[in-house]
C-alpha cells in the first residue's frame, strides 16, 4: 500500500521533483562553471584544483537552489490533492491518515536527504581532487555555511508543509514556503528592535538556529493537524 501511495505522490509532485533535479544539476553548469572559468585558478593551478573549485562552487549553488525546490515540494505535497479534489478519492479508500502522511513525508525528507547526500558526495570528490586544500571553497566558504543553507530550506519546507496541511490549494502554501525565511528574518529583526537581542554579531547564528527550529516545529504541527483533520 505504501509503495502505491509513494508512487502516486511522486507522480503528483512531478513538477517540483523535476524542478528539484534541474536545480540540483544546472548550477554545476552555469554559475559554478562561469565563476571558475573566469578565475585565474583555471590557468595557474593544476587541473585537479580547477575541477575541485568547480565542483565546490557548483555544489554550493546546487544546494542553495535545491532548497527552493524543497520549499516548493513542502508546500505542494498535501494541498495539491485538495486542489484537484483527488484527496476525496483517497479519503474513501482504506489507507489511514498516518500512511498517507508517511508517504508524503518520506518523499519530502527523502528528497532533502538525496540533495544533501549528493552535495556531500560532490564536496568529498572536490576535497579529494584538491588534496584537502581550501580550493573547493575559495568562492563559497566552508561546509558549515552549507548547513546554514539547509536550515533555511528546512524552515521553508516546514512552513510550506504546515500551510499545505491546512489549505485547499497548493499556491498559497508554496508562496508561504518561499516567504517564510524572510518572515523569520523580519520577526527576528523585530525582536532585536524591541528587546535588543540578538546582538549584531550573533544575529546570523540566531537566525539560522531559528530556521533550524522553525522547520521541524512547523513540520510536526502540520503532521498533527493533518492527522486530526477528518475532511480530506
Amino acid at each position: 500500500m505504501l509503495k502505491a501511495l509513494f508512487w502516486k505522490d511522486v507522480r503528483m509532485n512531478r513538477l517540483p521533483l523535476v524542478a528539484a533535479w534541474a536545480l540540483l544539476l544546472v548550477p554545476y553548469f552555469i554559475p559554478g562553471a562561469m565563476l571558475v572559468m573566469n578565475a585565474p585558478i583555471w590557468e595557474d593551478g593544476p587541473a585537479e584544483s580547477a575541477w575541485a573549485a568547480l565542483l565546490g562552487t557548483g555544489s554550493f549553488f546546487s544546494l542553495m537552489c535545491s532548497q527552493a525546490s524543497i520549499a516548493m515540494l513542502g508546500g505542494n505535497l498535501i494541498a495539491v490533492e485538495r486542489g484537484d479534489r483527488s484527496a476525496e478519492f483517497l479519503a474513501y479508500l482504506p489507507p489511514s491518515r498516518g500512511q498517507i502522511l508517511l508517504s508524503k513525508a518520506s518523499l519530502l525528507i527523502g528528497a532533502q536527504i538525496v540533495i544533501i547526500g549528493l552535495n556531500g558526495l560532490v564536496v568529498m570528490i572536490a576535497l579529494w581532487l584538491a588534496g584537502n586544500s581550501e580550493t573547493p571553497f575559495i568562492f563559497t566558504g566552508d561546509f558549515v555555511d552549507r548547513s546554514r543553507l539547509v536550515m533555511v530550506g528546512v524552515a521553508a519546507a516546514g512552513c510550506g508543509w504546515l500551510a499545505s496541511s491546512m489549505l485547499q490549494s497548493s499556491g498559497p502554501p508554496v508562496a508561504l514556503a518561499f516567504l517564510s525565511p524572510m518572515i523569520i528574518f523580519g520577526c527576528l529583526n523585530l525582536v532585536k528592535y524591541l528587546s535588543g537581542w540578538p546582538a549584531y554579531d550573533s544575529f546570523p547564528d540566531v537566525y539560522f538556529a531559528t530556521c533550524g527550529m522553525v522547520g521541524p516545529a512547523t513540520f510536526v504541527a502540520g503532521c498533527l493537524y493533518y492527522l486530526r483533520r477528518v475532511e480530506p
Binding site: R11, R85, S86, E88, A91, Y92, L93
Partner: protein, 307 residues
C-alpha cells in the same frame, strides 16, 4: 417517522444516532437517526440540498458530525476508519479519481489499497463496462467515470455499498445500462446497499426500504412496499362554504381548493376515513392510491408548507 420494525440496532449495517452537521451556523443534517439492517437496499430520497450527500459522507467518515454518533458495520467510523473502509465500497456523486492515471493504473492503485481484491470481478466489470484500460481518467466521459468508480467500489467485494447519486449526470442509455446491468444485480445479493437519489424510478426499481429526508431531517423510513401501501390520498368534497374542522394526526400534506379537500395520510388506516367523515363537514370521501412520486412530493411539500 421510522417504521417500528426498522428501529432495532441489532444486526445493523449503519446506525446513525441523532447526527447533526452544521456548516458555519447552517444546519445541513439535523438530529438524524437512522438504522439500516444488513442485507437491505435503502434508497435515501430527498430534494437537492436535503442533506443526503452530507449524511453519506458522514457514514464514510469523510465528515465529522457536529453532534451524534455514526456506527457502521459495528465499528466507529472515525476510530476504525481504515479497517472499516476495507469492507465498504463508495461511489460518490462527483468522481475525483486521479485524472492523470490510466484506467489500468487506477485499478492497480485501488488493488494495492485493499487487503482483498477480486481480480475476476474486476476483469468482468472491465469487460462489461467496456472500460479502455490504457485511456487516462481525464479522457473518460461522465458515464465511463461512474463505471470506473463502481468498478473500484465493487472489486473488493464490500459488505456495504454506499452510492451517492450514482446515476446523476448519466444519459438515459447509460442509466439503463447501469440499472439493469449492475445495480440490480448488486442490490439482489447479500450486500447492504445505501444509495441516495432524487430519481424515483431508480428507488422504485432497486430499494427494499426508503428513507425520505428534507432540510436535514428524516421524514420517514420504512420498507418501500409499506410506504406504498400505507400512504393514501383522501379526497373529500366539503359542504358549501365550510372548511375542514378536524384534521387527522396522520396527515402529512393537505390542500383545500374551494370545496375540494385533498389530504395525504401516513400511516393510513380505514378508520381514519370514518374520523374524517365524522369530524368534518364533508359530503363525499374518496381514497386513492399514490405512487412513490406523489408520496415523495407530499412528504416534502407537507414539511415545507405546514398547514
Amino acid at each position: 417517522m421510522s417504521h417500528p420494525n426498522l428501529s432495532t440496532a441489532e444486526n445493523s449495517a449503519i446506525r446513525l444516532n441523532e447526527i447533526t452537521k452544521q456548516y458555519r451556523g447552517n444546519t445541513a443534517v439535523d438530529q438524524l437517526s437512522l438504522t439500516v439492517r444488513r442485507g437491505t437496499t435503502l434508497g435515501l430520497l430527498g430534494p437537492n440540498g436535503a442533506g443526503k450527500s452530507t449524511t453519506l459522507k458522514m457514514v464514510m467518515g469523510m465528515l465529522r458530525p457536529t453532534d451524534g454518533d455514526v456506527v457502521v458495520l459495528g465499528m466507529d467510523v472515525f476510530r476504525d476508519g481504515p479497517q472499516l473502509k476495507q469492507r465498504i465500497g463508495y461511489v460518490p456523486e462527483a468522481h475525483h479519481i486521479y485524472r492523470w492515471m490510466t484506467v489500468a493504473e487506477v485499478t492497480r492503485f485501488a488493488e494495492a489499497m485493499y487487503e482483498s481484491w477480486n481480480d475476476g470481478i474486476c476483469a468482468e466489470l472491465m469487460e462489461m463496462f467496456q472500460l479502455p484500460a490504457k485511456r487516462r481518467v481525464r479522457q473518460l466521459s461522465r458515464g465511463m467515470l461512474a463505471k470506473l468508480s463502481l468498478l473500484v467500489a465493487l472489486s473488493h467485494e464490500p459488505e456495504l455499498l454506499v452510492l451517492d447519486e450514482p446515476l446523476s449526470g448519466l444519459d438515459p442509455i447509460a442509466r439503463e445500462e447501469f440499472l439493469d446491468g449492475v445495480l440490480t444485480g448488486v442490490c439482489r445479493e447479500e450486500n447492504t446497499v445505501v444509495f441516495s437519489s432524487h430519481q424515483l424510478d431508480e428507488v422504485n426499481r432497486l430499494a427494499d426500504e426508503v428513507a425520505i429526508i428534507n432540510a436535514g431531517q428524516l421524514l420517514v423510513h420504512c420498507p418501500l412496499e409499506d410506504l406504498l401501501h400505507s400512504t393514501k390520498r383522501v379526497r373529500a368534497v366539503l359542504q358549501e362554504g365550510r372548511l375542514p374542522e378536524k384534521i387527522p394526526s396522520e396527515m402529512i400534506w393537505n390542500q383545500v381548493n374551494r370545496r375540494d379537500w385533498q389530504l395525504t395520510l401516513y400511516p393510513f388506516e380505514e378508520s381514519t376515513v370514518d374520523e374524517i367523515r365524522d369530524g368534518n363537514p364533508v359530503a363525499e370521501v374518496e381514497v386513492l392510491d399514490l405512487g412513490l412520486d406523489d408520496i415523495f412530493k407530499d412528504f416534502i411539500k407537507g414539511q415545507s408548507k405546514p398547514c
